[in-house]
């Protein structure tokens, strides 16, 4: 799911969706779980790559030369990057949820105007 836009919040108000606040909450819960899982996948893959290299390196049983070790670590870092990016997005999700409820209630105050406008442009 991409982030909810203001236009979609306006659409929710105009469509007079019953219990819209509960639906927004459900949507955020689902989104949170999905982003969390995807980010965990990336971070787990990165962690297993780097741990396997580091463990074999320190045990002395590694058959890889130095640049191959660095290459695998680079690969682990590269795998972790999208995961960290997603994790950063996740941090703002609570604030996004509060903002969604606040803006929904603001748009609701001018619902009659918004409905009239949509009728005029239909």
């Amino acid at each position: 799911m991409r982030e909810l836009s203001m236009k979609e919040l306006i659409d929710l108000v105009v469509a007079e969706v019953p219990e819209a606040e509960t639906r927004i909450q459900k949507m955020f819960e689902w989104y949170f779980e999905r982003v969390k899982i995807v980010s965990q996948w990336f971070l787990a893959a990165a962690a297993s790559l780097s741990i396997s290299v580091l463990v074999t390196f320190f045990r002395g049983g590694s058959k890889l030369v130095w640049w191959q070790n660095i290459l695998v670590l680079f690969l682990a870092f590269a795998t972790a990057t999208p995961g960290l990016y997603r994790l950063r997005q996740l941090r703002s999700l609570n604030r996004q949820f509060v903002a969604a409820l606040k803006l929904y209630s603001e748009f609701k105050k001018i619902k009659t105007f918004l409905i009239r406008y949509r009728e005029a442009t239909r």
């Binding site: 996004q96 803006l103 603001e106 009239r116």
Partner: protein, 235 residues
Amino acid sequence: MNLWFETITVTASVASGLVSIVVTMLTWFFSKKSMRSKLHEAQEEEFRRALGSDKLTEIGSYLDKNIGNFNLYEYVSNPNVSNKIDIYLEKVRSFVGTDTEVEQQAKETKSLPKIKERLHISDPFDRILTELRSGETWTALARLRRYIEINLRKIAKAQDIPLERATAGQLLNILSRRGLIPGEILLNLRYAIAVCNKAIHGVEISWDEAEAAVLNANFALGKLKQAPELNHNSG
């Protein structure tokens, strides 16, 4: 290890690593770029023009096309975006009024005030009536409210009362409390403003109600113009 196999795995690893980093950076870069372009489109000047246009479709399309394009991530992560949206929403809300405000004002339109003297209907009232006849109720009554507001603001300015940001209803209340609006026209103006507010908010207005608002405003503003002591600084 086979040299070919080694070369292919090394190249594939480096390439996939680089692709992963580049894709993440591009995602970040394009989200920033899109936020900047949306902020640019939602310029203050354009917003003022939309609110000053007296057209339902222009104000609505500004909300849809400019404000509506921002997403919640941009709203919470960039203070410029959240400030802009909050200010715009507040201005639109104050322009169209809330359900509660309009419900309160609806009481004022229940009894039709008397027009004590039949005045000639001149511009812009005849233009507003023409718009009403052509079915442009929202535009016509938005124009009427703006015209009333301009005239009340002129009186406030002539009396050195700083009311730059006050709405038509607030201006009327303040000026009447100061005794600057003759009692005989206060109800007429209050009625006209209340009907305009209802229409701008999106409430269905009957032809009779809309026409009565124009006639009441025509009478009240005509009377105000005949009181030179209220307009001596207005030019």
